[in-house]
Subunit: 389 residues, 2 copies
Amino acid sequence: MLRRLIIMSVLAALTAMAARAQQALGDRPQAVSPQTNADNSVTFRLLAPEARSVQVAGDFLLPSGAEPVADMTRGDGGVWEFTSAPLPPELYSYAFIVDGTRITDPSNVYQLRDIATLTNVFLIPGGQGDYYKVSNVPHGSVAKVWYDSPALSTSRRMTVYTPPGYERSDCRYPVLYLLHGMGGDENSWSELGRATQILDNMIACGEAEPMIVVMTNGNPAMQGAPGETPEGFIVPQFDLPKTMDGSFEEHFPDVVAFMDANYRTIPDKAHRAVAGLSMGGFHAHHISKQYPDMFDYVGLFSGAIIPREGVSSPVYEDSDAKLARQFAQAPALYWIGIGRDDFLYEANRDLRAYLDAHGYPYVYHESPDGHIWKNLRIYLTQFLPLLFK
Amino acid sequence: MLRRLIIMSVLAALTAMAARAQQALGDRPQAVSPQTNADNSVTFRLLAPEARSVQVAGDFLLPSGAEPVADMTRGDGGVWEFTSAPLPPELYSYAFIVDGTRITDPSNVYQLRDIATLTNVFLIPGGQGDYYKVSNVPHGSVAKVWYDSPALSTSRRMTVYTPPGYERSDCRYPVLYLLHGMGGDENSWSELGRATQILDNMIACGEAEPMIVVMTNGNPAMQGAPGETPEGFIVPQFDLPKTMDGSFEEHFPDVVAFMDANYRTIPDKAHRAVAGLSMGGFHAHHISKQYPDMFDYVGLFSGAIIPREGVSSPVYEDSDAKLARQFAQAPALYWIGIGRDDFLYEANRDLRAYLDAHGYPYVYHESPDGHIWKNLRIYLTQFLPLLFK
């Protein structure tokens, strides 16, 4: 009935609209990039006919031991190209440098933010990389949730993973509180950390118990990630007021109280874990000793241990007595993971020496490499199977 | 106790790590961009000392009536700069064109994807723009949730907004199903559409009832947005198999059944709305007449109306009889919004003529401009206050 009234094909019109929209914002990228080849080498391309030099920079170049920047070669039609060595499974980051200006790959819409820098990403699956893929398994829900913190006198944003079937079940679940590093926020673990995919995949295969995972924002001066608060589209900062000053640790019971009040948690020590990376490992260390009855599982992933110089907080006082109290009823698991090249290696070695000297039990995992996301993702996959058993 | 064992300040070390990480991926952007000035003009800057020409492209240039591309001027130290006219409140998109290659602004981490193109965004607040800001109001939760669809024999990803206080209350809520356009996905309304901020702000001020909002993926060939499915980091496509072939409409009761089974909905017609933009308006039109007892509120935002040529589906047959049945118990609201410059203007005019001829009641809003996100966001803010009254 209405069909006869239309003159122009709707599809043709919509397509034309899209083309115009693209045109309005410049030429559409025409190079295929990145392209994963059969041998897991990756070809990067950039159409830049007028450029005089184009490089690709990224962590995928590091295994060769060289500087993580490689020259690309200009080919026909002004497409610059570089092909990597075959790459082991991993989530990699890269960017281009065109005549000295750093840009992201306009052909690749997959980008992640690390502090104030966006980089493109790509994933080589297989082996460990399969934990980071979206697989054909049941998927948990990932929510951005605001909670009230009386201790910080504000509401704050966090990420909550609930396991597959949570909405449909009446079950209660254990909870892992998973904390980010300096410069990060409540999005870091679910984005750069691939925590959503890791949890879906490990729960599906029975490698991890179904659990709720709470990814907080560890910057007490912020309500949430940059762009997600009333401050608007600010430039992300690495170091913020109130960083590692004790106030995040002091407010932490507000998070646990919110979760126990609003989610079907199992609200006891035996069913709570706290773990974090770098500054988040610092937080996990100090939170778990500040509240010794709260967490039965503790994870320090490339963890900072030592308070900042000049910081004074009750949280960091009486550490010997607090650790003694915590280990009087020792956590079911106190897990420490660190890379041999990590600048925090010595701090973690000293912590282990202290724990050894006092007979406090812990599990230690030492890995290659340093303070990089690759290690942190691996530590999560090693920590999760040990929880809530 | 452990403090004395550390030599290097942890903060200094973490800062050094971050600096090295930045260095590894090229120089850090040094230009401040974009910068909103006191008169709501915006200054864009790009550090590109070796570039021969730099332009900025974006919808913010359109009010002047010119082409949406402007030349930037090279200043001291190789920083290119352009300052816009004072801009009305709005969420704007832009990109740079450097020696003919389109790039995003390396100083601005805020980017949104529209189909296969990333653009930077910035927001001029005030007036209508205040609906798009994150404000100091209670915030709903936004979850990425997977549901099973027996009709499509797969599980699928969607975005679910629950209003502030949902977790803590025992209340049941009405539900708006909010559908995207061609090339979009379950992320479109919460990202380009600013639906999360619009809902938070309108609910907080009593302009909209507290409600659940379900943002589905309207591409039956996909399980979810690009990058969020087992297909991996694919290049997003505009037109996909099964687009507007009836299968999305046929599967829609699976979505409603999932929501009614897993959320505290009010599971009746009087408390359900369906609305969509462009292809989503097409879906809302056809879903609401296919299931006349399901939705009491229908919204067509710049809606496509007419099925694609050559498509055969029971959904698109007997439209006269289906509309007669739907309007025999007329929806509480049938809302049509369209821009005067929209290429779908005639299709919507013809639909109105048809509704008029049959005495089917509807509410009509005609706006300036065409088939652009600006209009779609405005339509949402006009539609929400009319729901569930």
